[in-house]
Symmetry: C2
Subunit: 151 residues, 2 copies
């Protein structure tokens, strides 16, 4: 049997026991309400993977709610796929936006590092300036509010 107690599962997943119970309450992982050994929870390694996924997804800015949405995406051929496709496509969009932003910050950091030991007059000195240089300045109207239509 490849089932783990909550303690072992927590250790393997790199979280605390309480966190697992918390995720269970939140519905992020199915609680094993089957009559388990002496009233103790028992987890398949699958659940450990799931918890790891949750943590990794958090690191890149997904909330638990969003992660639940991700995890609930299932391509069941017997169900109507179009809805799942749509939701998956929407998530993909989000992911791509995150990648783009990450890429901008990455270039800015690169530039910063490159500019660092350069002698002579530096133009790009901070992340902000590198970003502006890298993205071509997002225009700020600075005026033109006062009478707004949509809220």
């Amino acid at each position: 049997m490849t089932e783990l107690t909550i303690g072992r599962a927590a250790k393997n997943a790199g979280v605390g026991v309480e966190t697992i119970r918390f995720y269970e309450r939140k519905g992020l992982i199915e609680q094993p309400l089957k009559p388990r050994h002496g009233g103790y929870r028992s987890y398949p390694i699958e659940t450990v993977r799931r918890i790891r996924f949750v943590r990794q997804a958090q690191e890149i800015g997904f909330s638990l709610r969003e992660i639940e949405e991700l995890l609930s995406l299932r391509a069941d051929p017997s169900a109507d796929c179009s809805e799942v496709r749509e939701r998956a496509a929407a998530k993909l969009e989000e992911v791509d936006q995150k990648m783009a932003q990450l890429g901008r910050i990455r270039s800015a950091l690169d530039e910063l590092i490159a500019a660092c030991p350069g002698r002579g007059a530096l133009r790009k000195c901070s992340i902000m300036e590198s970003l502006v240089a890298a993205t071509g300045e997002t225009r700020v109207p600075a005026k033109a509010d006062h009478q707004e239509s949509a809220r």
Copy 2:
């Protein structure tokens, strides 16, 4: 003059007025303690850009504390660069890790979408399965604790 009131700055940056005050307290943006017009805060468009940066960085999983660290990176040729370089390199590392994870999720979503309308037996049905397939299964010891050395 290209200075904005807090209300205009907030609108331009896409946040609430209270959020700007909050960021000021946190030290994320410099508070204009210069004797501004009638006791009112006044912001350069630069600050609006900064706030936008904060929001974008949050979207990809940086905390306000980390964002402050990012923003404080400055390649000043007159200061000692090595420390800035080091911190920038560390951040770059973090960014790359985020990108990798984002990439994995992206592939999993791609695969999910591709698998969706396929007739016949589906093997990869959920994000988790696509991920496992994409990453080649991280081994879980499942045993070998009970007597641990390092904490």
